[in-house]
Amino acid sequence: MAIPVEQLADEMYEIVKESAGVKKLKGGDLTKAMVAKHGDEVSRSDVKAAIRILIDSGRCVYGYFGGSSIELPHTEAAENQ
């Protein structure tokens, strides 16, 4: 049985939340975490769709420092008002 993408989105959101401030996670890290947890029940395209849900809803944002990451929304240190 395929895992619903909404469930994947929720699970990935928890992972992002837990690693906030510790490690910036990349799309690939989240994919690997989901595959490790659910095996054949998730596909790469499901994970992609779930990330898109997280980003489009504003629960997560893309960040960049030498590589792109998926993070919780926050004010960045470089920002000027």
Binding site: K26, G27, G28, T31, R44, K48, I51, R52, I55, D56, G58, V61, Y62, G63, Y64, F65, G66, G67, S68, E71, H74, E76, A78, E79, N80, Q81
Partner: protein, 398 residues
Amino acid sequence: MADDLKTPLLDELEQGPWPSFVKDIKSMAGKKEMAKDLLRQLEKSYEDKRGYWKHGGLVGVMGYGGGVIGRYSALPEEFPGVSHFHTMRINQTSGWFYTSEALREITKIWEEHGSGLLNVHGSTGDLVLLGTRTEELEPTFRALTEKGWDLGGSGSDLRTPSCCVGPARCENACFDTLAVNYNLTHQYQDELHRPMFNYKYKIKISGCPNDCTAAIARSDMGIIGIWKDDIQVDSKAMADYVDSGMDVQGLVVENCPTGCIQLDGKEIRIDNSNCVKCMHCINVLPKALSPGKERGAAITLGAKAPIVEGALFGSVIIPFMKIEEPFEEVHDLIERIWEFWDEHGTSRERIGEFIERVSLAAFLEGIGEKPLPQMIKAPRDNPYVFYEEYFAEEGEGE
């Protein structure tokens, strides 16, 4: 010009025959505080011999993780006009062809929403809009998409592919560079806008081995035109070159890297089995010689600038493939490469570094391609071979 703008060092760069970027920025300074403070901050950089920018990493348009580069002045109180100075990368057209009607729509949008300054074009190929504020990103994006333009890539994603002038204005194009460039840019919009890779992935497309987009040096994946059969010769045009007094022997025959050309009176004889398609003779004798008829492209992988493990040129991964609509073979190859790299690459590892780490043999096996002698300069010269086939003693094993 505003009287309060004092930039004596930069003013010196308004002199001289080469067109001046200072003049251009100044031409916006009357209208845009952003352009004025850009000049002021740059003047300070010229005085102090250092830059004054911070790098931002979060700004973008909703839903996209690429296409916007966040930039903030390190001296926002001194130069409030460039407190925000973000870049937007716009997908250029195939071959960088424009009409004034279409590009005027962009200049109008950018004059309204940004600094009015641009790079035409950026190193990867995008049309680069330089300098706007965070709150202007979304309105600019909306205005651009209304007129049919979209953002390019940045970060760990596919960058906007770029191609040479190709069949639009070059007799040497071995395939339709504009068509494949357009097709790949559209086929992979998701990969362009939503970073999911280990690091950046640049595609450059050149129609022949002259490689006007520098694919061999600057692209993770190069699609470079090549042919397999004989160079086409127009004997009359060839005779005309000889009759004109041109030193064909010295300029062409003696420059052939494999010595496969002979000049016999007014006739040129080419040992095509020995030709390495370097383009020299075709470049020097464009009226007489042209690439063969069996045309396609070689695919190279792995070129990059030094960061992290040193600069690399691309290596030939597919010595020859046909590049034809609807380009399904190209898509299939790209997707096999991405899947293997996604699965086994590490963070910030470009495809070239990845192939060197896992070995070409393992990479080819991973993407399902057979090793071919065209992929190497020479076989290995060390004996450290990882043998995988063994004989078993009789009676043992299966």
